[in-house]
């Protein structure tokens, strides 16, 4: 999610204003798909000097709640969505710093998720920025996680921790091409048959289109010369600036 700032960068409360718009958009989108009794809210520390905000379904005590999902009217799943935002490099836009989309069985004695979609804008080297972790059991995965001579494997040996399938981070397209919340919601509807509202597909499609257009705009900034070349091939007239910006190799090459 990203919202354009209108005036000078980082005025007082600007971060909170952008975060509020983001939280409201999440509430609007999700509540068009499933029953949402508590809205998304944003919390920031003090003024916007730290430039961080946390957005989730939050109650008056500040607890960050999961969204109950039903199947045929029975509560079956819990969807947890948390998005931590910060200023982008230019301090003009709200950038996603970390995001967490977790799906659990609705059982008070089972906390382990079924799967987790996560994004870390600044991940550690061995972890892909956008990744999926599946919580399950498969002996071959555990064997291979223990067999390979990798930094993560060596750390596991040092810590004497048990390898799990959930420790495998399936990469999901890096910073720009990762899935959105709408993708997860549609998968839950298609695969698990969660109860959805009339018109939910339209809400999903609108949200996904909005997400992909936004990510496309960000991706354009990563490789503007490639974009200009494609546009010229389509008949557009594109004039190079006097000082073309460099490609963002950190985004194009990162895991």
């Amino acid at each position: 999610m990203s919202s354009a700032a209108t005036a000078n960068a980082r005025p007082a409360n600007r971060l909170l204003q952008l975060a509020e718009e983001f939280a409201d958009a999440l509430t609007s989108r999700v509540s068009r798909v499933v029953n949402l009794t508590t809205p998304f809210s944003a919390i920031a520390a003090g003024s916007d000097t730290k430039g961080r905000v946390s957005i989730a379904v939050t109650d008056a005590l500040l607890r960050q709640l999961s969204i109950p999902l039903t199947v045929n009217g029975t509560r079956r799943l819990l969807l947890f969505v948390k998005i931590q935002c910060c200023w982008d490099r230019s301090s003009d836009y709200l950038a996603v710093d970390q995001s967490f989309i977790h799906v659990r069985i609705a059982d008070k004695y089972r906390d382990e998720p079924l799967f987790r979609y996560e994004f870390l804008r600044e991940p550690t080297p061995a972890v892909p920025a956008a990744h999926l972790q599946v919580h399950g059991h498969r002996d071959e995965f555990v064997y291979l996680l223990l067999t390979g001579d990798t930094p993560r494997g060596r750390r596991r040996v040092v810590k004497d921790s048990v390898a799990r399938l959930a420790e495998f981070h399936f990469p999901l397209g890096g910073h720009r091409f990762r899935p959105c919340l709408e993708d997860v919601l549609e998968a839950l509807a298609n695969e698990f048959g969660i109860d959805v509202k009339d018109g939910w597909r339209e809400a999903i499609r609108e949200g996904r289109e909005e997400w992909r257009r936004m990510q496309l705009r960000a991706a354009v900034r990563d490789a503007p010369r490639d974009v200009a070349e494609v546009l010229r091939s389509m008949g557009y007239e594109v004039i190079d600036p006097a000082e073309p910006p460099a490609d963002r190799l950190d985004r194009l090459q990162s895991f």
Binding site: D24, T27, S41, I43, G46, T58, S66, F80, P113
Partner: protein, 59 residues
Amino acid sequence: MATATSMSHEELLQRRQELLDQVHMTYEELRDRALAYTLRPEERDVYEAVRSIDYLLRD
């Protein structure tokens, strides 16, 4: 609660302690149980809140 709330450093620290008091655990106990996936849903809600407060307060 309001859609967007700004809290001072002190308010967040106080709220963090109140959250931990609700579940009668230290942060370390809560974290260890979270990592072992042995939290109840209401404890998970608190854990996520405390983690977010720590994120907001991080230097």
